[in-house]
């Protein structure tokens, strides 16, 4: 199960990676993995929300904490994996053994917590019927969707909208302007009001100290932008209040990720 989880950790595995995996595991596990990666999914044990319920009960986690956790980890399969502490000893469970335990809540719960967290997430996707990874057709196109951290530089309270920037050498380069839809938007606007450094019409410049996580569907080159790129489908996903601005990866890191 750990080898299979590692194989699919980065998304669709390349055929060479699959061949290397197949050489390491037995014929049974290799065949089971191939069926999964060709889109043949096991019968769903329960929907992800039910798996999460079972895990919440097993770990004595109250509903209000599950709700708080979902804001940080919206993926229910991942959340159900992270609620257990790390397993006390290394797991040797094979993929075939894991698939065989998808028969009842009791069998599922008996196994899931013994796996390391990343294997648990994959196991939960198999159990919840949301495993979608397939073997990559070679060659593959570039993967451009992703998430990045960015620093808040301007706020327009009338939108409300905000401008985000990335470090580049010793300066900050504007990356994108996005609507603010986070639940913490009122708190953010209050913070911006209390920290206005300068005004340009409706725009309030703020000290570059607040870090946000952005998600986007793609990146396209745009020579008219200082950053040289446009974010496609950009949106603000969280206020990363415990990340310091100096720890935001630079523009070059975002560009490197795309090539």
């Amino acid at each position: 199960m750990m080898r299979f989880a590692a194989l699919v950790a980065q998304g669709a595995p390349q055929p060479q990676a699959f061949a290397a995996y197949q050489a390491k595991v037995g014929a049974d596990e290799g065949a089971a993995a191939l069926r999964l990666l060709c889109g043949q999914r096991p019968k769903r044990l329960a929907p992800p929300v039910t798996l999460l319920d079972w895990v919440a009960t097993a770990t004595n986690t109250p509903a209000f904490l599950i709700e708080a956790c979902l804001k940080t980890c919206p993926d229910k399969a991942e959340l159900a994996a992270l609620l257990f502490p790390p397993p006390p000893k290394a797991s040797t469970t094979t993929l075939t053994e894991a698939l065989a335990s998808l028969t009842s809540a009791a069998a599922y719960l008996a196994l899931v917590h013994t796996l390391p967290p990343e294997a648990r997430t994959i196991f939960n996707r198999l159990a919840g019927g949301t495993f979608r990874t397939q073997l990559a057709p070679a060659p593959t196109g570039p993967q451009t969707a992703g998430r990045c951290l960015a620093i808040l530089t301007f706020v327009d309270p009338s939108g409300p909208e905000a401008t985000f920037a990335l470090p580049h050498g010793n300066t900050l380069v504007p990356l994108t302007r996005l609507r603010l839809t986070l639940p913490q938007t009122p708190a953010l606007l209050a913070w911006a009001r209390a920290h206005v450094a300068d005004r340009f019409g409706p725009l309030r410049q703020v000290p570059p100290t607040q870090v946000f996580e952005l998600a986007f569907d793609g990146i396209t080159p745009n020579a008219r932008r200082k950053s040289g790129i446009d974010l496609v489908g950009g949106r603000v996903t969280s206020w990363a209040q415990d990340v310091q601005a100096c720890d935001v990866p630079p523009l070059s890191a975002l560009l490197a990720q795309q090539t």
Binding site: F64, C73, F84, T121, P167, Q241, D242, P249, S252
Partner: protein
């Protein structure tokens, strides 16, 4: 009548009215007590600074000219109407929780802390108090850290695999604390190089007597074969990164527990200088405090959880 609070939350940070001092203030104040040298706790512009002897050299290195005084762990000092002492927080070298006492009533401001020991800093010591102001950076039950040796073994394996392929291993870390914790935990496994910013802080800690392995600062020269390079994320933005030759980049942070945060780095290791969920709950229990205030990170869910356990708890931010 309930006595006036020993510590209040103000826009400039925590303030002790009876002692007329702030803790880790972010706006200019006359008198600052500093828990540790991270930039979100130790800022420029305060009239005077008080921190542990162990924290002071790095704070001076980072902030430059300042009026500052060191104090030993556990040493009590009267400031205005309160007695103050600093106690190990296990977060970074010199980091402290601040204990404040007035007529038998005790409050403790935790600063940043980590309950599990590491290879470098003074281990966390729980301090009994009536009111505990705790950080909650990782205050959700999805954060469970492995023992440090387990994570160091994972990092060592990644480093060795890269070295076998003739590729340098670049570990991203804060220049103070995490960087030195990594070198201390990985000492003796191969050549360790640093970005000059990391080296400067490392040298300050070495002069203080912290045991750190030999490191080589890279300034324009490529790392030796099979080296581990410890650098800040910012350093990787500069031309400096171009001199590294073929390399793999990894991040080491508590946030790496989340798949979304692992995207975009070559390898990710879950290693934090903050307490995890179990550490936070154990720390609160060990203080035997009847009232808890939460600061930083997941303040609201953690306070709600404490209330569900029967404690008086409230989020401050």
């Amino acid at each position: 009548m309930t006595p006036a609070p020993l510590v209040i939350h103000t826009p400039k940070g925590l303030f002790c009215p009876d002692g007329d001092f702030h803790i880790d203030p972010m706006g200019r104040v006359p008198r600052a007590l500093i828990t540790h040298g991270h930039s979100d706790h130790a800022a420029r512009g305060m009239g005077t600074y008080l921190c542990t002897h162990q924290a002071l050299p790095v704070i001076r290195h980072r902030l430059g000219k300042m009026v500052a005084e060191g104090i030993a762990y556990g040493e009590a000092r009267q400031i205005g109407g309160v007695r103050v002492s600093f106690h190990p927080a296990g977060h970074v070298p010199g980091s402290a929780q601040i204990r404040i006492e007035r007529a038998g009533e005790v409050w403790v401001a935790s600063g940043d802390y980590k309950t599990a020991p590491d290879a470098l800093c003074e281990p966390f010591e729980p301090v009994r108090c009536h009111t505990f102001l705790t950080e909650t950076t990782f205050g959700l039950p999805i954060f469970h850290w492995q023992p440090e040796v387990v994570v160091m073994r994972q990092i060592a394996a990644w480093w060795q695999a890269n070295a076998a392929r003739g590729v340098a291993s670049v570990l991203l870390a804060y220049s103070f604390g995490k960087a030195q914790r990594l070198m201390a935990g990985l000492a003796g496994l191969g050549p360790i190089c640093t970005h000059p910013v990391v080296e400067a802080v490392t040298e300050v800690l070495r002069r203080q007597g912290y045991t750190l392995p030999p490191t080589t600062a890279l300034s324009g020269t490529p790392p030796p074969q099979g080296a581990l390079v410890i650098a800040t994320p910012n350093a990787m933005a500069s031309d400096w990164a171009l001199t590294l030759g073929p390399h793999q980049v990894a991040a080491a942070s508590g946030w790496m527990a989340l798949a979304a945060r692992r995207k975009g780095v070559g390898a990710a290791f879950v290693l934090s200088d903050h307490a995890d969920w179990a550490g936070l709950t154990a720390a609160v229990a060990a203080t035997q405090a009847e009232r808890v205030y939460t600061l930083h990170g997941f303040t609201h869910p953690f306070a709600a959880w404490l209330r569900a356990q029967g404690l008086s708890a409230q989020a401050l931010s």
